[in-house]
């Protein structure tokens, strides 16, 4: 069981497990109501995440781990202002009937209160969570999460995922993965970690050069470029079965991007020109998308797969263009900046993030609306900032930066704020790509 839970699907599986086997009292209507009450852009949600109750030595230890996991997880999202619980938040005089002191909560400015109990049944850890709206003392969520000791992190994050979805109406980062390149071993190999940098695992050991890893929206397949054959070749690897398809017809393959779970696009040059093709996840060619003499690379798709943003040198230096797949019509997206590359289409479909190589040598990250309006600069005066990739909830961007010397991975919000280092590992880390779980 423990083995089964480990690995790539552990987070997802634990969540499914909880959904299937736990009594569920999530009131969607009340959650919607709560979202409606909160005004758009009013800042972080003031949350009291109370210390979990537990009796017994083991239970208390697991409760402390869960406390830390949930606190760190919710803090990572930067969606909350985490307020320490007031001392008199609970009236425990009647042990069977804990009463929450809502006036004390509102007096410290809390909007939402979350608390729970940890119990055990044989080897299973049971986390009963309740979420209340502080002002109206209304129960928003009452849900049980179950797992073994090995699943504690998934159990804690399953609650965090529910809480974020309840309060924002959007899917959260919990359970998502980031794949990236690290040269820790002396070779550029592919690694993955959880959304918060936890649990780094090496995925390739080709002792060659690997580049541009990207997970399919369902997280089942990994597409990447690798030089093992002596030339940059597109590989599509099934993460469950380990089956690897090499797209070998090409002389050079560049920068894959998934259109949906079954199709990945990449630049292949087997016919003499560098053109973007759609490739099935079994490695067979689906069809050619671009047709020209210039460089066409780095495809990224609108959520419905109908449009593709990509980099083209058709006007000279690289700029970002959008092609409608049905009609073949192409329009230029970027006009500001002389060298614009590395586009990534947001999960909501409204924005595209990309990098501009500036005259002074800096590389900076920008977002632009898919219609070409609303250009926003996210990084400045911090060296080379590259390979931006959206979190699945569209609230954060992961990227690499050499601002402190070596290239490392950072995350930031959509305004370029809250920039922080994602993980501390040896060597240089580059080309991060956040999974979608669309």
């Amino acid at each position: 069981m423990i083995q089964f839970f480990r690995g790539f699907v552990s987070g997802i599986f634990a969540m499914l497990f909880c959904l299937v086997f736990s009594p569920l009292y999530l009131s969607a209507a009340e959650g919607q109501e709560y979202i409606a009450i909160r005004k758009e852009g009013t800042g972080n949600i003031a949350l009291v995440l109370d210390k979990l109750d537990a009796k017994g030595r083991k239970e208390t230890r697991f409760a402390e781990i869960l406390d830390a996991t949930m606190h760190d997880g919710l803090d990572f999202t930067r969606l909350f202002s985490l307020i320490s619980p007031p001392l008199n938040v609970k009236d425990n005089t009647d042990r069977k009937n804990v009463v929450i002191n809502f006036p004390a909560l509102t007096s410290v400015g809390a909007e939402v209160y979350a608390g729970g109990v940890v119990t055990m049944k044989s080897d299973m850890i049971i986390l009963d969570m309740k979420v209340y709206e502080a002002a109206g003392s209304k129960l928003l969520l009452n849900k049980t999460y179950t797992g073994t000791e090995a699943d504690l992190r998934s159990v804690g994050h399953a609650f965090c995922a529910d809480l974020v979805e309840l309060l924002t109406g959007k899917k959260s980062v919990f359970g998502s993965k980031i794949v990236f390149i690290s040269n820790k071993t002396g070779f550029k190999e592919i690694y993955e970690c959880d959304f918060d940098g936890y649990g780094v695992e090496q995925l390739t050991n080709s002792k060659s050069i690997s580049m541009n890893p990207t997970l399919s929206p369902d997280g089942k397949n990994l597409a990447y470029i690798d030089f093992t054959s002596g030339r940059p070749t597109l590989y599509i690897r099934s993460l469950n079965g380990g089956r690897i398809a090499a797209v070998g017809k090409s002389s050079v393959s560049i920068d894959p991007g998934w259109r949906n779970n079954n199709e990945v696009a990449a630049t292949l040059s087997f016919d003499g020109n560098q053109e973007i093709y759609l490739v099935n996840s079994d490695g067979t060619l689906s069809r050619r998308v671009t047709n020209g003499k210039s460089i066409d690379i780095s495809p990224t798709f609108s959520p419905d797969g109908s449009k593709m943003a990509f980099v083209s040198s058709r006007n000279g230096l690289p700029q970002i263009f959008i092609q409608d797949l049905a009609s073949g019509q192409v329009k230029r997206l970027t006009f500001s900046g002389r060298y614009n590359t590395q586009p990534s289409w947001s999960p909501a479909g409204d924005k595209i993030v990309y990098t501009t190589w500036e005259k002074g040598g800096e590389i900076n990250i920008f977002t632009i609306n898919a219609d070409g309006s609303g250009l926003v600069q996210l990084t400045q005066r911090s060296g080379e900032n590259k390979s931006p990739s959206w979190s699945p909830d569209g609230e954060m961007i992961v990227f690499s930066s050499n601002r402190l010397g070596k290239e490392k991975l950072y995350v930031m919000n959509l305004k370029g704020g809250n920039e922080r280092l994602l993980l501390q590992v040896d060597g240089e880390q580059t080309q991060p790509s956040w999974s979608l779980f669309r």
Binding site: F227, S298, L317, W357
Partner: protein
């Protein structure tokens, strides 16, 4: 066979004398049979790199002489096929540089093919910015890294 006998004898006698001489003072060392003459080391005069301007894959005027030398070498060394590697400097972004490197290799190949080298003997590949020749972060280093590198196989 008759002609071999004096030759063998002439080899045998000095060999035995040598063995005898060695045997007097130290352990008997049987010299290995003379190895066959090694294949002449592949000397590659002529195969040299050509260099490119920033963000360009078109050939510069100063590349032409080197490419003619390379074409002559390839014509003379029919046992070797040649891979042309396209490389870029570290600036810009790695995906674009991978594309640019291939175009540099292709422009060098096309020129050599026009000089009469059979296309089947030439392969091209790009390493983008992944394998710099010079490791500095100056224009001098970058200029050396924007290159098509010829490798005989």
């Amino acid at each position: 066979m008759k002609t071999m006998k004096p030759l063998l004898r002439s080899l045998f006698i000095p060999t035995m004398l040598l063995l005898g001489a060695c045997g007097c003072c130290e352990e008997v060392v049987v010299p290995p049979p003379p190895p066959p003459p090694p294949a002449a080391p592949v000397v590659l005069p002529g195969l040299g790199d050509v260099f490119y301007d920033f963000d360009r894959s078109e050939l510069r005027a100063d590349a032409v002489g080197q490419l003619k030398t390379n074409a002559d070498w390839i014509a003379a060394n029919t046992a070797n096929n040649v891979t042309i590697e396209g490389h870029c400097d570290e600036r810009g972004t790695s995906e674009y540089n991978l594309a640019l490197g291939e175009r540099r290799a292709n422009s060098a190949r096309d020129y050599i093919v026009n000089l009469g080298v059979a296309p089947a003997r030439l392969k091209t590949v790009s390493f983008g910015e992944e394998k710099p020749f010079a490791l500095g972060h100056t224009e001098e280093a970058w200029a050396q890294n924007r290159r098509a590198h010829f490798v005989a196989e």
